[in-house]
């Protein structure tokens, strides 16, 4: 088992992006065969046809966040074209042309905001220069209206379509020299644009990985041991091979250790298993059901959720393994406090469970591998296939399909390397498709965790002491993937006496980033315990949070700086939106809770209104969200959808979801025992964006974390019962 040194996978992504620089090839020649006759390619992203139709390449994977629409909007704005004349094309994995292509960390908007607008602006300038050459005037005499270059002196006009081919002879201007539009002049950015694929989605067109078909394609299933990484001891394949339609069944030796993340990468090898290949997926599945596999003994076959919970309690009772941060004097402050609170919090493992089960289509021919995959991170998948199959990365092509959800699960490419291996062994194109049971039991799980808190408020009602003994998973100084916590985790730096201690337990279960990694659990425990302390102080929880945030606009240094003023802004906004001040008028059994959280560069405050029945049933009636993601919402329609979906996912975590281990195996298997939120449980979600003068940042994740404590704090307001363990059960809340 190897553990990464830090917990937050998104931070690694960010660091490596920054270190490598964002590669944008402004002047890249058109790909051979990409352009039809008469079509001019201005750079790797933009092609213009004679009729003025502009093709813009969407570089990143589309996993539900609307990026296939919003990144091309940035290019189209500065290129100055009508959105109705834009056609969007999904890029293949092509780091030389497009730099890092991934969906993670809500990073696409902040990473591309300047760069992609410049891509559009540079292309526009080339069109202007081509027109100026034709008119024998200076570029300064020209401007554009959408799709047309206009000579401001003569009034002459040339369409982009008539100029694009001439741009082949024009050197791309230095992107540093281009002047970007005044936001007041935006025609596309800031306007609600439906997702480019919306018509194809609602008519059921083949868009997803699972819809890929290749001539002569066969279908595969792949069964792995119920204990993570277990090797195949013995396998009787005969009954499977006897099923009509089954073509092949074989054992894949694989690498038992590959199941665990290494060096921050999830899905770092080929996990042992048995493949069944047939002419339909149903036949492959029937064959799989006839397999008789004996899995070898495995060292993690005794681990269990109950065992971890008991061990966490033992660790909390003793001295911590290490101290992570120690400000002031917590013990003295607790002694001097007017009120103290102690509380133990816990949250479970979670499976990502995107609705499209893991799948990948692979074709191996003459030493070359072609892959069609729903993936959030294609290049590591290509490298993994190269390493595992022993072929050169340049002999592998990865096509990115639309993903039926990602949520972090498809940052690991385990299913890709499985498909590649099975396709080569089979000697035919193969579509590997996991069952839902495979998906729920073989994830990179959101790690569970335990927090043992002590806190105190002083006589003036200020939060004066905070101690967390965080019991997580890992080894030595390292956390399991996404199981860590920053020493700057709020309210660190806002409480004069603050101590963060850490103990870890070894875990033989693959973990990894799940939508708002770390934050999706840490928000619940921290914002709940702050709420407990607010109530102990007899304070209004919203006012208590504002007071805690203090008067300084920014606390700490980049990259860990916390813009407290922005958080105060969204807290005040959500208070107004939700009618927080009149919450006392709610009927018995109902209550409102507030929570705020900073993650992925976004500041979010949320209020939930819940009703709890006497038998302990929770109904979330409404959630209000105030969000600060900077000065510009790129696509408001998509932005609101992301926020609403993130909040409802948080509600789903709170009410339903948990993965448990027993005998080293995941106990859940499908949506019957791993339920997700359904429509009758989904409250209305009202969203307001608070505009501040900061660069725009992403929305795929940051609305999720505070939704959970907003709900549990509302439950306390409604019932006086404090939820300290997720998911919420009726037994916790029975009157």
């Amino acid at each position: 088992m190897t553990f990464q040194a830090t917990g937050a996978n998104r931070r690694e992504i960010l660091t490596s992006v920054t270190a490598a620089g964002l590669t944008l090839n402004f002047a890249l020649a058109p790909k051979a065969g990409a352009a039809a006759a008469g079509v001019g390619a201005l750079n790797a992203y933009v092609r213009v046809a004679p009729d003025g139709i502009v093709t813009i390449v969407a570089k990143n994977p589309e996993i539900c966040q609307g990026i296939k629409t919003s990144l091309p909007m940035m290019i189209a704005e500065e290129l100055d074209v009508d959105w109705k004349n834009v056609r969007i094309e999904q890029a293949d994995n092509d780091p030389k042309a497009y730099g890092r292509q991934f969906a993670g960390g809500s990073m696409a908007t902040p990473l591309h905001w300047d760069e992609l607008r410049k891509v559009g602006a540079v292309a526009r300038l080339m069109l202007i220069q081509a027109a100026a050459q034709a008119w024998n005037c200076g570029p300064g005499d020209c401007t554009t209206t959408p799709g047309t270059v206009v000579n401001t002196r003569s009034g002459k006009k040339r369409t982009y379509g008539s100029l694009a081919l001439a741009c082949a002879n024009i050197p791309a201007p230095d992107p540093k020299t281009v002047v970007l539009k005044d936001p007041m002049d935006y025609r596309i950015i800031g306007k609600s644009m439906p997702q480019y694929d919306t018509a194809r989605i609602v008519t059921g067109q083949p868009l997803f990985g699972i819809d890929v078909r290749r001539p002569g394609m066969l279908y595969a299933t792949y069964v792995k041991g119920p204990v993570f990484g277990a090797k195949v001891g013995s396998a009787d394949l005969d009954a499977a091979l006897a099923v009509k339609g089954v073509k092949k069944a074989f054992v894949v030796q694989g690498d038992s250790a590959a199941v665990m993340p290494t060096g921050g990468n999830i899905g770092s090898g080929l996990v042992p298993g048995v493949a069944v290949v047939a002419d339909t997926w149903w036949a492959a599945r029937k064959g799989r059901n006839k397999l008789k596999v004996q899995w070898a003994e495995h060292p993690t076959s005794t681990q269990s959720s109950a065992g971890f919970a008991a061990r966490a309690k033992e660790l909390a009772a003793g001295p911590p393994q290490r101290n992570a941060r120690n400000d002031g004097d917590v013990e003295a402050a607790l002694k001097g406090a007017a009120k103290t609170v102690e509380a133990a919090y816990a949250y479970p493992f979670l499976a990502h469970s995107p609705l499209e089960p893991q799948n990948c289509t692979a074709e191996y021919k003459d030493g070359k591998l072609e892959i069609w995959a729903p993936t959030q991170f294609p290049e590591p998948g290509r490298q993994l296939c190269a390493k595992t199959l022993g072929i050169k990365p340049e002999d592998i092509t990865v096509h990115m399909t639309r993903c039926g959800g990602g949520f972090g699960r498809r940052l690991g490419n385990d299913y890709m390397v499985e498909a590649a291996w099975i396709a080569r062994e089979t000697g035919a194109p193969v579509k590997l498709l996991w069952s839902r049971e495979d998906d729920i039991q073989h994830g990179f799980f959101r790690p569970g965790g335990f927090h043992f808190f002590r806190g105190g408020v002083d006589a003036a009602g200020n939060l004066s002491a905070w101690h967390d003994h965080f019991v997580s998973y890992g080894e030595g100084a390292g956390f399991a993937s996404s199981a860590g916590m920053a020493t700057t985790e709020f309210p660190s730096r806002f409480v004069p006496n603050y101590r963060q201690d850490v103990s870890v337990m070894p875990l033989g279960m693959p973990t990894g980033p799940m939508r708002a990694p770390g934050s999706n659990a840490l928000a619940f425990v921290h914002q709940s315990f702050i709420d407990e302390l607010a109530h102990a102080a007899g304070a209004d929880p919203l006012a208590f949070q504002i007071r805690l945030l203090g008067d300084k606009p920014v606390v700490g240094e980049a990259p860990g700086a916390y813009a407290a003023g922005r958080m105060v802004g969204v807290l005040k906004a959500v208070g107004e939106m939700s009618g927080w001040a009149s919450r006392g008028k709610l009927p018995k059994g109902e209550g409102m809770g507030v929570a705020c959280y900073y993650s992925h560069m976004g500041y979010f405050a949320e209020v939930a209104h819940v009703a709890v029945s006497p038998v302990g049933e929770v109904k979330v009636k409404k959630v209000w969200v105030a969000a600060d993601v900077g000065r510009q919402i790129v696509n408001p329609m998509g932005a609101i959808n992301q926020v609403q979906g993130s909040v409802l996912e948080g509600v789903s975590h709170a009410l339903h979801q948990q993965i448990t281990l027993a005998n080293g195996r995941v106990e859940q298997s499908n949506f019957t025992d791993y339920p997700l939120l359904r429509i009758h449980e989904a409250p209305a979600v009202e969203v307001k964006f608070v505009i501040t003068d900061y660069p725009p940042t992403g929305l795929g994740e940051p609305a999720l974390p505070p939704a959970i404590p907003a709900v549990t704090n509302a439950i306390f307001a409604a019932t006086g019962k404090r939820v300290r363990t997720l998911p919420i059960t009726k037994d916790m809340l029975k009157a």
């Binding site: 868009l207 339909t280 149903w282 469970s353 609705l355 329609m637 959808n641």
Partner: protein, 155 residues
């Protein structure tokens, strides 16, 4: 064994084992991939089709049991008087995020509106609670159904 299925008004031949769920006959044998695989146990609704107008989970219907019944999939909704309105509402409100569940959602919504032209919230929830949206676009699904039925909508 060879079956002749009536799919979206067309007679299509499929040579499959009779126990093959209709979902897989549609997807792998007939190439009709709008119905999606999500769970295989009728718990998510991604595979919803209409059998003689009733919304059914195609992952649970053996191909042999379909007989001459009329099967409609998302691919047939563009010519369905209610289905096309539902699709238009879905586009107008841009309901989808990943979009994977939406064919099933639209099939359930169409069946609801065909029977109950102006459903209230409770009727919408009763008809739609079998369809999971992992991206949780439920706010817009509810709004789009109301919009398609000519009722006032708040998103």
């Amino acid at each position: 064994m060879a079956y002749t299925l009536n799919v979206n008004g067309q007679a299509l031949n499929a040579d499959v084992d009779g126990d093959t769920p209709l979902l897989w006959t549609l997807r792998d044998t007939l190439g009709i991939v709008g119905p999606k695989f999500g769970c295989g146990v009728a718990a998510c609704g991604a595979c919803t089709v209409h059998i003689d107008g009733q919304p059914m989970r195609s992952c649970q219907i053996p191909t042999a049991s379909v007989g001459a019944a009329k099967i409609a999939t998302i691919e047939g909704m563009a010519t369905h008087p209610v289905g096309k309105k539902v699709q238009a509402a879905w586009m107008e409100l841009d309901v989808a995020q990943c979009g994977y569940c939406q064919p099933g959602q639209i099939m359930s919504a169409t069946a609801l509106l065909a029977k109950t032209p102006k459903p209230n919230d409770a009727q919408i929830e009763a008809a739609m609670s079998g369809n999971i949206c992992r991206c949780a676009t439920y706010v817009r699904i509810r709004a789009a159904i109301k919009h398609a039925s000519g009722q006032k909508v708040e998103v």
